[in-house]
Symmetry: C2
Subunit: 627 residues, 2 copies
Amino acid sequence: MIKKELTPAQLGNVTIDDSFWAPRIEINRERTIPYEYKMFKATGRMDSLKLGWEPGKEPVPHFFWDSDIYKWIEAASYSLTTHPDSQLDSLIDGLVGLITKAQQPDGYLNTYYTVVEPGKRWTNLRDRHELYCAGHLLEAAVAHFQATGKRTLLDVACCYADYIDTLFGSKPGKKPGYPGHEEIELALIKLYQVTGERRYATLSKFFVDERGQQPHYYDREATERGEDPTKFWAGTYEYNQSHKPVREQNEAVGHAVRAMYLYSGMADVAAEFGDEQLRTACDRLWNNLTSKRMYITGGIGPSRYNEGFTEDYDLPNETAYAETCAAVGLVFWAHRMLQFECDGHYADVMERALYNGALSGVSLDGEKFFYGNPLTSLGNHHRQEWFECACCPPNIARLIASLGKYVYSQSETDAIVHLYVGGSASLHVAGQTVGLRMDTRYPWDGKVIIAVEPGTPASFGLKLRIPAWCREFSLRVNGMEAKSLQPKHGYLRIEREWKAGDCIELSLSMPIELVRAHPEVREDIGCVAIQRGPLVYCLEQVDNKVPLHRIVLPEDTKLKARFEQDLLDGVVVIHDDAFVVDDSDWDAQLYRVAKEQRKCFKISAIPYYAWDNRESGKMRVWTRTDT
Amino acid sequence: MIKKELTPAQLGNVTIDDSFWAPRIEINRERTIPYEYKMFKATGRMDSLKLGWEPGKEPVPHFFWDSDIYKWIEAASYSLTTHPDSQLDSLIDGLVGLITKAQQPDGYLNTYYTVVEPGKRWTNLRDRHELYCAGHLLEAAVAHFQATGKRTLLDVACCYADYIDTLFGSKPGKKPGYPGHEEIELALIKLYQVTGERRYATLSKFFVDERGQQPHYYDREATERGEDPTKFWAGTYEYNQSHKPVREQNEAVGHAVRAMYLYSGMADVAAEFGDEQLRTACDRLWNNLTSKRMYITGGIGPSRYNEGFTEDYDLPNETAYAETCAAVGLVFWAHRMLQFECDGHYADVMERALYNGALSGVSLDGEKFFYGNPLTSLGNHHRQEWFECACCPPNIARLIASLGKYVYSQSETDAIVHLYVGGSASLHVAGQTVGLRMDTRYPWDGKVIIAVEPGTPASFGLKLRIPAWCREFSLRVNGMEAKSLQPKHGYLRIEREWKAGDCIELSLSMPIELVRAHPEVREDIGCVAIQRGPLVYCLEQVDNKVPLHRIVLPEDTKLKARFEQDLLDGVVVIHDDAFVVDDSDWDAQLYRVAKEQRKCFKISAIPYYAWDNRESGKMRVWTRTDT
């Protein structure tokens, strides 16, 4: 029976004190989380919990406003876990009080359907987000309980989950429905893991397995609403991944955030139930996504139309939707796949999405956001202070606040380092608590020093990830070079009797590389992207005062890396001679027969995650190359 | 005082009997024109003329249906001019009868406002097309009169124009309005030229000059309808070129067809009134359009959103709208500019649009049409049997039926050949009728033989266009090489005393060329288009069984031309060795560091106008090159 090999480190057992992530976590705590609270309050989301809305009043509570508050509580709870703050604790308690009061006697909890459309509960699972909001409540409750030990929100969540469990299922009299926007599947597994109540896991498995079965629930439901099911506004059930049973799905389709939450839930259910077939479906979807449908930034879902997937290799840059939430969701899914099997392929994708397509979603000052994350901008795409649909801001906040979870895993035999983030951790390995202390300037530098501190000397494996982008590395154990060790599935495993004071020095070579996309990606053909370590770079207008599309980066360009402390909170800039196509001999012609003329031009590239934090302008990730 | 230097040959004085256009004109006559009649009838357009519509009946006459019928009558009348056909003559008479009966006692003539919204005449010049439909009536009437000598439709047109003239103008009590969709401006000039009634020209000038004046007519009109003028659905008056007075306009903006009809009308008014300032405005707009906003096919208006223009050098290929009507409109405008001044720049653009972006609009069998003419297709753009908005089919039909008008011009001193189309013509030059007989396989071959047949020997200039794409030519006059003659403004002028039997042999070198776009066209950078003579070529999937975006055409590729009689009604195919990017060593990776691998690949390109006439698939005009 399959199960997850690894368990992630507990968030509370990890501290982060490096120069890259620690400042971002601090800004997340001190700026983003308070800012989002303020915005949620200002837009009426907090008030809507009081159920005081009446017809004619503005603003009308939106049908997924609840989820924003829950995601905020989740982010704030993670922050409390690593950084106690009584004021924030009280703010959360205030919201928990409102939520508790908003819960109906039968356990139901949804402000929209309680005040705006009472009597219409569960009549449109396809489009309205009751189960989605419920899922976020469960996630928030678990995080809040784990952070504070308080059962207040957890009790509300269990009460609601119990109520949902009475309504949905395959037994006669129950609704064989499932959410149009997945989320509750993974949340129910979390709730089960915290409460030990197996029926939450069983309900999650029901939602996963019922999805896409015939006769199709959304057909029946639409007919009951008096609608023609064939007139579904999104055109296809691929939109919400209910076009066929999940075990038969082979391709990442539809709305990208929904897909990521579903696939995460599928991975969780597969692990909890030892369900090999479901795990295999996850693998198929993973392979399709990561080998054919993912931007180099880890952004996913190219199309604005369905906020999601189109077809293999269709990865347009200018019109890339690549929603922040979708990249965050990919981190979630990759992290789950990685616990199944300690394979660098999962960690590589997790790292790619984290450092690029997800991190780009929030400004350096923590108070402006990207919803979409295109790979080319003509100068008209900018970070916004807010969105009408504000799903992305709390999503990136909860990811950053919980970063510690993603850095390490543990198993009976191994302590595992997935990401190189300076700080320390306590892991449970070989029957005891093992301390790890990591020092590194990653992602700017590939040198990592890890001190291993078992309580008592003990034999176990220390697994260190060798990223796919790293082609050369060296390792020293207590100062002695360890040449014979070779990575397996992307990880070096150092097995020995570890004792306090043992020290590992890993040096990952981090050259500047010009990466190509598969030739079938038509928008990238003839182009390269600059990558160094885990970071994808881009050219921004403010640093490159020529039309960006005219820059040519020959494949043999010798680029240089230089750390600039005062730029963008400190980044490694990549720079040096390339070319720009000249038009000085073109006059007023629009078309002509002539050789292209080029001039030397010194380019300057910055990490993609940091773009649009200065004066606005054009941006490009993929740059034309020579051959 | 400026005026048009040249007058075009009369359509009835030109015959076309070559192997390229004559078959297209025949298909237009025998297939397209009857097919369009059938479709207009089937869709209810003919019946709507009977004014029998009542609320609740389907179909509801559309507010610009009349224009489709008028354009069809215009096309059919041109066809009658060169190819008498009593059956077609009767069909037209039938329609003229209906139109005559549909005209209201006061002269008003618009089926929509007569039956669907009676009482709302002239309340929405901005969006509804009363003046546009009226313009097409006038053009049809002039063509019908010139073709048949019958005054039936001309009388209707004059009566309507007289009525319009009583309503619109700057005098107190008249409406200072003008059409939201331009067309009547150029039509009133035609009506003036045929009737000699100067007030039609004066009314045209009023419409041209009132456009965009403040206070803005469309603001006032919207307010009178009880609407907020700032809520104009198109967002900006650039949409209909009324954002400022036309004499102050510098850039081709808004809806492309509207722009072409306006600029054509401006050129006509400038000529009729010797209005230098207006001519200068035309030149500015011309320079902007042709040096910054025109596809290599002569297609214009990149954006589907406004069916029109965006900004300089924004010429996306996949999403190119490039409506057939807009390319047809560009032919109209270029032809008018060319009569002002015999400059090859105008004729080059006219030829480019005619042979490529306009001609592509109709299938080889004459019964399928393109509305948009993109320069890259991912396989999902196909010729349609019909459109809900059916403006393009009769527009391309009237252009092809009247092609003879575009081939020659005449002045007091010169007989001028703009286009090389085999056939004969009678021109009025030097006080007498001069016959020209042209034989050529153009556009497949650059050799042109012209026999000059003046009634009596006479001195005048014969001007022959040397296209901008032609870098070498040779000329023989009665067998003697004429080496010293050099083209001026794109035309060779041979002045001598011509006598019957004189013969000119012009050989235009027609090599295959790889053309580049200005470096500021970001979608074409690093790419070339294949051009030979006036024809732009494209790669179609059916001939090139590899992903088209992977083809690389190095600049020094030696391509070959081969005429294939049985392909696409006979075309010169361009073919030979190029490269295709190989993916056989890519496995399942999506991104990697590696040199691009290429294989030899024999490409085969066909003229752009002929694409999508075989099995459906992808298509590309711009192909990646090497340096």
